[in-house]
């Protein structure tokens, strides 16, 4: 029997759909858009919470200050290096680890469980642990390196090294997350592709490069997007390990926004910085989405 949809049914379906979606829209409005709108409004004011008398509408001056404030620019630069470096390490090591654990043996299953350990450590705890381990004089890392003749390194006190050190710690924390997602994507691949390639005499490298990597690449792009945005929002690890120092060598935008908003109670300026941050991250997310869509089209 042929079922035809009447105009009435179509309208009812639409109304029902809206009804089901409405709670999410309301929650989003309350939890995200209203605070964001309020933040946007505050960003046009000089507003220091502990000096209400100094409040004044200053238009776009907070935004102009962002681009002339050398510490904001420095924080942005640090943030880009930090996120770029940590996410690159995570993806590179994550893919390698996922490949190594993709077999279905008892050992690989056991190793996956062990691999999850850094993921369940709170970033504050991890930061504290690493801070102690990386101490130049008393830390275990330099102690171990001394056995291979490496002189003591000032991991967190040297401005030339500190940024890379905290990026490494962030990578250590999130490699398991990346590896587990890529691993699940590899395991979900149809085995027929791999079998066919092996029958045709493809080397393991070619199987990886020509088959596995292209198929899991949309997942890698999504993971990269999630991690890049997350790495850009880094706070706890930096706060615990360096407080943005030495000097401002590890100052990031979130620690800078925190400093302005929570430490100085300088709500107007921190709101403007936060709005710029949200816009920048939205652009990044959009770029990654586009890249993923293009990859999906290419894969057919």
């Amino acid at each position: 029997m042929l079922v035809t949809r009447t105009a009435y049914q179509s309208t009812t379906d639409k109304a029902l759909s809206w009804l089901f979606v409405m709670p999410v829209i309301i929650i989003l409005l309350l939890a995200a858009f209203i605070p964001l709108g309020w933040g946007l409004y505050l960003s046009f004011f000089r507003y220091k919470l502990n000096m209400p008398s100094a409040t004044a509408f200053i238009g776009l001056r907070n935004y102009l200050n962002i681009f002339t404030d050398e510490l904001t620019i420095l924080s942005l630069r640090n943030n880009v290096i930090f996120a770029g470096l940590s996410v690159s390490i995570e993806l590179l090591v994550g893919v390698v680890v996922a490949m190594m654990l993709s077999g279905d043996t008892r050992l690989s299953r056991g190793l996956v469980s062990i691999l999850m350990v850094p993921m369940i450590v709170a970033p504050v705890a991890a930061g504290t642990l690493w801070r102690m381990m990386l101490d130049r004089t008393y830390g275990v890392i330099n102690y171990l390196l001394s056995f291979v003749g490496v002189p003591p390194i000032l991991w967190l006190g040297d401005p030339k090294i500190a940024l890379y050190t905290v990026a490494f710690v962030d990578a250590w924390l999130y490699i398991p997350f990346v590896a587990v997602l890529i691993l699940s994507s590899i395991k979900a691949m149809p085995t027929s592709f791999l079998d066919a390639a092996r029958v045709d005499g493809a080397s393991p490298w070619k199987v990886f490069w020509r088959i596995i990597l292209p198929i899991v690449s949309p997942v890698i792009i999504i993971v990269a997007m999630l991690r890049f945005i997350d790495a850009f929002k880094v706070f706890d690890t930096i706060f615990v390990m360096t407080q943005g120092g030495p000097g401002n060598a590890t100052e990031m935008l979130p620690t800078y926004i925190y400093r302005q908003g929570i430490k100085f109670l300088n709500i107007g300026y921190s709101s403007a910085t936060a709005i710029v941050f949200v816009i920048a991250m939205s652009v990044v997310a959009y770029a990654f989405q586009k890249l993923r869509d293009r990859q999906l089209v290419r894969l057919g």
């Binding site: 000089r46 220091k48 919470l49 502990n50 000096m51 100094a54 510490l71 801070r131 101490d135 130049r136 004089t137 008393y138 003591p152 000032l154 991991w155 967190l156 006190g157 040297d158 401005p159 500190a162 360096t242 407080q243 943005g244 120092g245 030495p246 000097g247 401002n248 060598a249 400093r259 929570i262 430490k263 100085f264 109670l265 300088n266």
Partner: protein, 422 residues
Amino acid sequence: MKIRKIFTIALILLLVVTGFALAQKKFAGKSIRVLYFSATYADAAKEYAKEFEAATGAKVEVVDFPYLTLYEKMGLALSSGDSSYDAVTPACQWDGEFEPFMEDLTPYIQKDKFDSADIIPNLWEQSGKWNNRIMGIPFSNTPQTLAYRTDLIKKMPTTWDEFLVLCEKLNNPAKGFYALAIPGAKEQLSGLWMMVQWSLGGRWADEDWNLAIDSTETRKSLEIAKKWMKYADPAAPAWALGESDAAFLNGNAAIAFSWPTLSIAPNGDNPAKSKVVGKWAIAPIPFEKNGVTVLSSWDIGIPKAAKNKDVAWEWIKLYTSKEKQLSNFLKYSILPSRISVWQLPQVKSNKLYPHWQASQQGAVIWWRIPAGTMAETYVRDAVSNYITNQWGLSKAVSFMEDGMKKLLEEYPPAPGVKNTGR
């Protein structure tokens, strides 16, 4: 029948006694929440809470946060009118920021004839009083002192030049022994630099807020702070206070900068925690021109939004009483704000007594205006970037000056408010 009579009489007596006891406890059933810095101050408060409850019937919940987060917790609670806390303990440099949100304690002091004359006058001016109002009672003050090894140093120098000569003599990196234990992370290091600048006769601004930071003293003090690093463990630029104190207590340094009262004094003579038992003492920093400054002072007051102000005042009286200040000193190494406590024989014979000389001077090294914390951050960034060779001397000085100038323009001190600190 007789037993019933006895039982009835006993019951009545019990009720009378209980009623009497309850009537004595003025604040029975009430409770207050007090906010402290997570250090010995909070430990002492927790100890006295039981005694306070037994005496007044009111419960005391002591909430404490580390220094790094205390300011924001207190600032947000006060400025948003949050009534969670019945008493708070601002550091002296936050007084100007928090004063609009704090109760004036003058009526309480007058009502109870609180012995105000016993509080060190200079200290109270700098910690607890603001804009002709009393917003807190000081309960602890820590002048700039350092801890040193008595087996290696006979007398601490009084000038920075002599100090550096001594450092050169003591430093022995080949043996893992350094002249100085320094918390080089920017939070603490900038405080240390401030004391040098002050001791050399430098200031951030004059009393009318005309900037004076671009000076010979500022430059010389920055250079001195940089030279310290030559005589400290190379790990020091990343050290917080804990690591620095540990280095001294482990016997790896001859002189420890900053806050001997927080960790070195309570642990220095404990063999389980110290390798320098009986071999350390406290001395003022080389004070040169301006003398020693009070780096830290804490006062306790009542937020305007507090729900139980009378109970909070009762707690303040107990916590700042002579008896408790003595106990604070002997048990927790908290330096008293009361003159009479400093005169007690058991205080005079204590290793921490050299702090008294410094306490009397009572100069506070911070700006106490609402923009004070922001100004301090400019100083932190400049000092840390200079010490770690990221900025030159001129850049560091101009960064501080430009920052402070902008702050004073955007957030000027209230009319009539003079710069009594730095």
